[in-house]
């Protein structure tokens, strides 16, 4: 069993090297290779921080430049069908999930079977999403509702005084800058 895991890990790393999406150093390449090997269809330049793609990962399709935060879960079946098994012992119910290009899904969301998220949409943290979400939607809540246009939210982020170009800074520099910015003691 251990040997199998080690071999699988090596295979995943080897595939990641061939994947062509080099540059990230936080395990993204390996994770995306692993998810693709499970059957998840994943476009280019995605950043994914969850492995929770249900028992039918091959029913999930992600477009290009999709960002998915930690704790988010994709559900591709409806477990309540279990209640029908008294008369139909083998019955199961499934649904696909499709996520368009340039979509961001926040922390701890639940994406239910049959969901289709349109391109350029943003799903707020903790949302429970079902049905069809039109393009450029900002969606939050349980059940998730469309609040407005994602493009307006992005423009507001641009204008937000707490939006800064800090990604390339090393940890101590960013820490000092942020504590100063928010008026916290050095």
């Amino acid at each position: 069993m251990l040997m199998k895991r080690l071999l699988r890990g090596l295979l995943v790393r080897a595939l990641a090297m061939l994947d062509g999406s080099r540059g990230a150093s936080d395990g993204q390449e390996e994770l995306i290779v692993r998810l693709r090997s499970w059957g998840v269809t994943i476009g280019e330049n995605c950043r994914i921080y969850t492995t929770d793609f249900s028992t039918e990962p091959y029913l999930v399709t992600l477009g290009d430049r999709v960002g998915i935060s930690g704790g988010t879960k994709f559900l591709t079946h409806d477990g309540s069908v279990w209640l029908l098994r008294g008369k139909r012992p083998e019955v199961q119910t499934f649904g696909t999930i499709r996520v368009g290009d340039d979509v961001y899904i926040g922390e701890n969301c639940l994406i239910l079977p049959g969901t289709e998220i349109g391109a350029r949409s943003i799903i707020g943290a903790g949302s429970v999403v079902r049905g069809r979400i039109p393009e450029n939607s900002l969606v939050t809540g349980n059940p998730a509702k469309i609040v407005g246009r994602a493009s307006l939210f992005l423009e507001m982020l641009r204008e937000n005084g707490n939006t800064m170009d800090t990604l390339a800074l090393d940890y101590p520099t960013r820490r000092a800058l942020l504590r100063r910015h928010f008026g916290l003691p050095e």
Binding site: S121, G124, I133, P134, E135, N136, S137, L138, T140, K145, I146, V147, G148, R149, A150, S151, L152, F153, L154, E155, M156, L157, R158, E159, N160
Partner: protein, 93 residues
């Protein structure tokens, strides 16, 4: 008709929409009211307000310009120079 191709927008129409959306008496609102400091709106509240104004007036506000508005007067001015909303495939709350 205004040069935007629709009926002119009255300030009071915008105030009425804002008062209804925020569930505030009209008397609590003034042209100088700031969305964040005076009315306590966060970003999601503000986006919902913009959607309410667009739907109430039948206009489409530019995202970049809407994001820069700070006061009710700013929003009224933006609504007055905005084109009618054709509703072409955009997200509606």
């Amino acid at each position: 008709m205004s040069d935007t191709g629709r009926e002119p927008i009255a300030d009071e129409a915008v105030f009425a929409i804002i008062a209804a959306d925020l569930d505030l008496p009209r008397a609590k609102l003034s042209a100088d009211s700031r969305f964040d400091r005076d009315l306590g709106l966060d970003s999601l509240d503000f986006i919902q307000l913009v959607m309410a104004v667009e739907q109430g007036l039948g206009v489409k506000l530019d995202d970049g310009e809407a994001a820069k508005t700070k006061t009710i007067a700013d929003l009224i001015a933006l609504a007055k120079r905005s084109p009618p909303d054709t509703g072409a495939g955009e997200a509606q709350p």
